[in-house]
Symmetry: C2
Subunit: 191 residues, 2 copies
Amino acid sequence: MSRGRRPGETRTRDAILAAARERFARDGYDRTTIRGVAADAGVDPALVMHFFPAKEELFTAVIDLPEDVELAIERALHGDPGRLGERLMRMFVDVWEDPVTGPRMIGLLRSAASYDAAAARLRDVFDARILRRFAEVSHDDLRSDLVSSQLVGVAMLRYVLRIEPLASAEREALIAAVAPTLQRYFTGAIE
Amino acid sequence: MSRGRRPGETRTRDAILAAARERFARDGYDRTTIRGVAADAGVDPALVMHFFPAKEELFTAVIDLPEDVELAIERALHGDPGRLGERLMRMFVDVWEDPVTGPRMIGLLRSAASYDAAAARLRDVFDARILRRFAEVSHDDLRSDLVSSQLVGVAMLRYVLRIEPLASAEREALIAAVAPTLQRYFTGAIE
């Protein structure tokens, strides 16, 4: 994302993204404007448009997966195929419970559920960054979707809705309960 | 809900609920007003308040689970415990693919993900109507949450985000893939 940019540019871009993230979450996609985001970030609208020519690009950048998460997924997918489910579930809990990444992931999931106008872009990001990688490992797109369905469901109940006792379940108990599901979707019988 | 009411009252109440459902979905919880809902339903705000004394009650009625769904859950939970996962998954697909119930369930899930102010009420409904019934069968609240997590995840990917190939997967293939997960969460080893 910010590779190859000067530090000042990166800081400005990050400030714009932070303001946009807040606006989209609070006002929804339709009501968010470049002008409003620029005001919140304390910059000129033209500067926002220098980085993001249109609201659509701004939104895509906001919902893009944090780089750390991509790397974490990459690491989890490598290693003993028989323990793939466990590694992935452990990575998942780490990412969602990280004080920086967690709230961003929650925002991303909420956006995914609520912005009609942007659903197609969200699907693209989800598809390119997560599902395609899962499918390279499972060699099957349906398996890859099933893995995601279980992870998205845990994220919704544990981190977004905070439903008990799942929200307070011990990490290791959660990993032990869900890892075999992921493992079966990746490598077991599904028909 | 409408039990014991005269047909005219039921029709009015249903019209108010339909208008409210639309407003909450479009404008979010905070921006929706009793006055606006009354205008959309073509009735006086006092009449809305006759049925629903405050916005909170209106919202609770909107997000309440359709009666048919409660009955369908009840039916799925009865019978051979060894095929519980399959019955529940079959019921789930029926409910979400029903032309009337399906769109209401999608609205409910979107609300659940996006309305911060109303998240507590949503948890209550979800807890009283679904999780408590699952827990009576599984004799364990964490198991019950795990079952829900898988169902909510499939609902998000297949019906809300419409991610392929899960969105177009054959009913029976989907049931065959997911039923064993639900069955294990209900009755299998989870640690």
